[in-house]
Subunit: 204 residues, 2 copies
Amino acid sequence: MNTSQFSTKERILGAAETLFARHGFAGASLRQVTSAAKVNLAAVNYHFGSKDNLIEEVFRRRLDELNGRRVAALKGAGEDASLDALLGAYIRPALELSLDTDGGSAFVRVLARAYAEHNERLRKFLSDNYGHVLRLFAAQFAKQLPHLSKEELYWRLDIVSGALTYAMADFGVIQRRAQDSEAQHRALAAEHLIHFAAAGLRAP
Amino acid sequence: MNTSQFSTKERILGAAETLFARHGFAGASLRQVTSAAKVNLAAVNYHFGSKDNLIEEVFRRRLDELNGRRVAALKGAGEDASLDALLGAYIRPALELSLDTDGGSAFVRVLARAYAEHNERLRKFLSDNYGHVLRLFAAQFAKQLPHLSKEELYWRLDIVSGALTYAMADFGVIQRRAQDSEAQHRALAAEHLIHFAAAGLRAP
DNA sequence: GGCGATATCAAACGATCGTTTGAAGCATAG
DNA sequence: CTATGCTTCAAACGATCGTTTGATATCGCC
């Protein structure tokens, strides 16, 4: 019988997300995770098999949602969406995730750590599961930026992805204004990013 | 008597840099580091006091050089340097560091990890020691971009920093062309970044 | 040559790591 | 009711962690 409204698996995933964001994959131990989740130490290996599998599940849970929203936003923007609309469809779901009060803001930092890890297994996992979304967007960007070669376009989208990862994880040095909430600060970051990226993509 | 041309301290710093880049600060053990450096395990605590101090020294060694070059490039560009020249003065020293065959390419990944760590001690260390360089550049950018408010300018420079960190650490999905060397690939990334960032900064 | 300082060494410290084990708890189906 | 299949539990596994110790080696200097 669970004393919480969440299942053991869900509690582990939530705690792992928070602790991976804070201390990294190697830095957060299963003892910390299970203790924060208020479950037995052995529960991780019982439900997920290993720490590595747990890490992968932390990604899957959020990225399915994130990329689903991106694709939905892309379709919602129509066949001839403007550059700003395309950027919004890509960036705003990430922003919304980062504003999720229930772990999403931790997850965007986990995602940034994953990039820093440069881990081949994770890269393959991300590419296999979500590469098609990137290609979907690239095709639409190409229509709005016909003066760019495919190669040039990919370089620029790569730059946008980097800036987005960095911005959502709040790595920057910009101090939040006192009158802004954390959510407003992130929203501001996203709007600046969209504006900046639109100009960068349009460059000759 | 050292069998190598490098001192024990230097060998430790070099090995630590490589292994921190590959496995992270928590993920790389002192046993791995001292083994790769071909020194005794106790040497780290003898020469640096602790693992945390070693991490800080890894940063200091490279960042003194990097930011020195940036300031020199800024001065070399003259008082009324163009936007592209300013961006070049900021970005190219980072590129050159990433091309350094003797650990520099590892270090840019260590730097990216440091951002992902979100570690307060490291952030303070970086801000204390190198914040003045950022302000120096900001002042010059402001002269070239008089239409931007100070706040707006800082947002955009923050975006550039994020994209730069991401690009130098080679986090992106862009595949290196077969005919390009690793160095050429990085150089290409830097040029794309300068071009993109210049347009983004100039946006209304 | 001998002496103090500096450096390196093998070995061990207690703590913590991911994982495994086997028993106990608990729901549901027969 | 008992039997069955999940799930949870405390405890322990061997391995590895950062750090410390005290002996040994190596150096510059009088």
